[in-house]
Symmetry: C2
Subunit: 353 residues, 2 copies
DNA sequence: TATTAGCACTCTGTTGTATTGAGTGCTAAT
DNA sequence: ATTAGCACTCAATACAACAGAGTGCTAATA
């Protein structure tokens, strides 16, 4: 992004405008800047500067006799060079710690919690994906006896994701036999990446453990189902109704658009997986997002890694007019806490590739 | 609900009004009824009848010079005695079958799918709870080796719900030892109802399998976590944005109220668990719901049972001005299909207690 | 030369007023 | 018992007037 050289004064004015606009959501005029901020410049001077800033693309004017509104470029400059960094308030930090520390021990639930507290603290909508691995492999398969004729196939991937499938099996299969099947499957499957499992071969070799082909088939089917489930990447969001706090979504059409977008799992996936940078926090403002759907939203993402191949992403989405410094400080803190907690829980977290 | 005796003519008029209103969402006037429906009565006559119906509580008037709008009582009468039953269109049936038949073999995912198709077909918001048992017991516990120092505790309840918890364990625990722990735990836990497990005793008897107290403790902790997770009843919804299709939610305040309500798990629980009747389909119109939050919504619920103690509920929520006949026919059909599919999958579905 | 006061102009949003039209209730005629 | 007719009510719409916030430009000022 090519930023032309801005005079100190222009920077100050731009920052004042954006600060104001972030809090008021109203186009800001020259007079209010000249009064509220101690620049000791007249409104006329400010006006001239504003006209310049508009010409350079940092500001926009909804209509001739209105004040100015920051453009995507304006926000970008603000985020990169103007805004004051902050640290979260003590209440914020406390509620984050409360949500993340101690109690939770199930990973995906843990991420859900993180997602929840992110949306609570920032008052925007949070997005998150469950920990996800590029090369997903099967760690263990368990076949569990449930009832006569019913069994549960439980598959566990190297990412710690657990999927389970209920299957109907022959009545003659006893818990013991299922255990044998379990062991057999484990022997043949565990450690394999999901796409390199030869199920046909597997079925045929069933009689290796003295069980008929037909007895095993539904179980194998269960395993494949399990794998298919595990392949779906889980994404979720929280605090969707937060958008009603912001006037840019005050008409139902816009609100509906936003909420409908969230209903599409694929869109959330696209957004989350677009966090390809190596920066700890990745901010995409308005049209910087490659998706039409979020053209006037800002997305703030962060990713964590567990070991080498497991990756999870979470963050927030809101209007481009966003409290950047607040959001960034919160996300930073949450990321740090999350990191600590996961490390406590299972160790081995790596930040960058 | 005390219904006074209504003349045939009053019934016809009431039905005409409600039919109209359901489709137009506008207060209906006497003239439009006298014209559109072949009652061959003048608007003046209709007016008199309408005044009567209002006095009896079946209709309401937003303001003096407006048409009439059905009251909760009016809708109730309509549902019980007036509306024409229908069968779902072939397209509807097809999409329902497509969504439910065959592919899915994991129960909670299956219910999710059902919930999804309900909201798609009815165009209202669907609610659902995962299969839930009054007396929940632990079917099996598995402790799975993940990595050195990491294990996964997987608990399976009699309802087929699977919960898992990642735990950090001592490095010296081998997969084999974990298997021994698994077996030990199973022996002592399986079949017990969740509230009748003595964990202290359990820990002490750890050395029965030659393992130190301290090695087992984190695993026991994992099991209790697991149980706590399983105790939470899962509820979810789908198609929340459908409410934007209905003018009664066209202002953001109302829409926000509705969506915020859905964000509260407890509210959904309350709604779903209020399906205590034995009827196959349970309809609660407006203030018939005991919760203030849904005082101008209608909830249509249905429950299915698996075996004797497992119960799940799903249904839809929408404005009281609802296409009752369409919704009811759809839910009937979905319920039937769901029933068939679960039976195919695991058998033993019982409709009533 | 940079700043600012001053002014004409633009555009939105609000307020007040008139009008329209759908609908009602009542009365008297059929 | 039904209906035509009429006066009345009320919300919604349209329109004009006006206020106010803001701009750009010009000329005066430091």
């Amino acid at each position: 992004m090519p930023f032309e050289r801005l005079s100190e004064r222009k920077k100050l004015i731009l920052r004042a405008i954006i600060d104001d606009y972030i809090h008021s959501a109203e186009p800001v005029g020259s007079r209010s800047i000249s009064k509220r901020h101690e620049l000791s410049l007249s409104s006329a001077t400010i006006r001239n500067e504003m006209a310049d800033l508009e010409e350079m693309g940092y500001l926009e004017q909804p209509h001739t006799s209105a004040g100015r509104v920051p453009s995507d470029k304006g926000y970008r400059f603000y985020v990169d060079q103007l805004m004051e960094p902050r640290i979260p308030s003590t209440e914020e930090m406390e509620s984050i710690r409360n949500a993340l520390e101690g109690t939770i021990s199930e990973l995906s639930q843990f991420i859900r919690n993180a997602s929840n507290v992110v949306s609570k603290v920032t008052r925007y909508t949070s997005l998150a994906s469950a920990p996800l691995s590029k090369k997903k492999s099967l760690k263990t398969v368990q076949v569990v006896y449930i009832d006569s004729g019913k069994a549960l196939v439980v598959g566990i991937t190297n990412t710690g994701m657990v999927k389970n499938v209920l299957v109907k099996v022959s009545n003659i299969l006893t818990p013991d036999m299922l255990l044998r099947v379990s062991n057999f499957l484990n022997e043949h499957l565990s450690g394999r990446t999901l796409d390199r499992i030869d199920f046909d071969l597997l079925k045929k070799s069933g009689d290796a453990i003295g069980l008929d082909y037909n007895l095993i088939t539904p179980i194998i089917k269960g395993v494949t189902d399990c794998i298919n489930l595990a392949d779906d990447s889980e994404v979720f969001f929280d605090g969707a109704t937060n958008i009603f706090n912001y006037p840019e979504f005050s008409d139902t059409v816009r609100a509906k658009e936003f909420l409908s977008m969230l209903d599409e799992k694929e869109v959330i996936q696209k957004i989350l997986f677009s966090d390809d940078s190596n920066r700890p926090i990745n901010i995409k403002i308005g049209r910087e997002n490659e998706f039409e759907e979020v053209k006037d939203c800002t997305v703030v993402l962060t990713s964590y890694r567990i070991g080498n191949s497991i990756k999870g992403t979470f963050g927030i989405i809101g209007p481009t007019r966003m409290e950047y410094s607040k959001v960034i400080s919160s996300i930073h803190y949450i990321r740090k806490k999350l990191d600590q907690e996961i490390r406590k829980l299972i160790g081995d977290i790596v930040d960058e590739e």
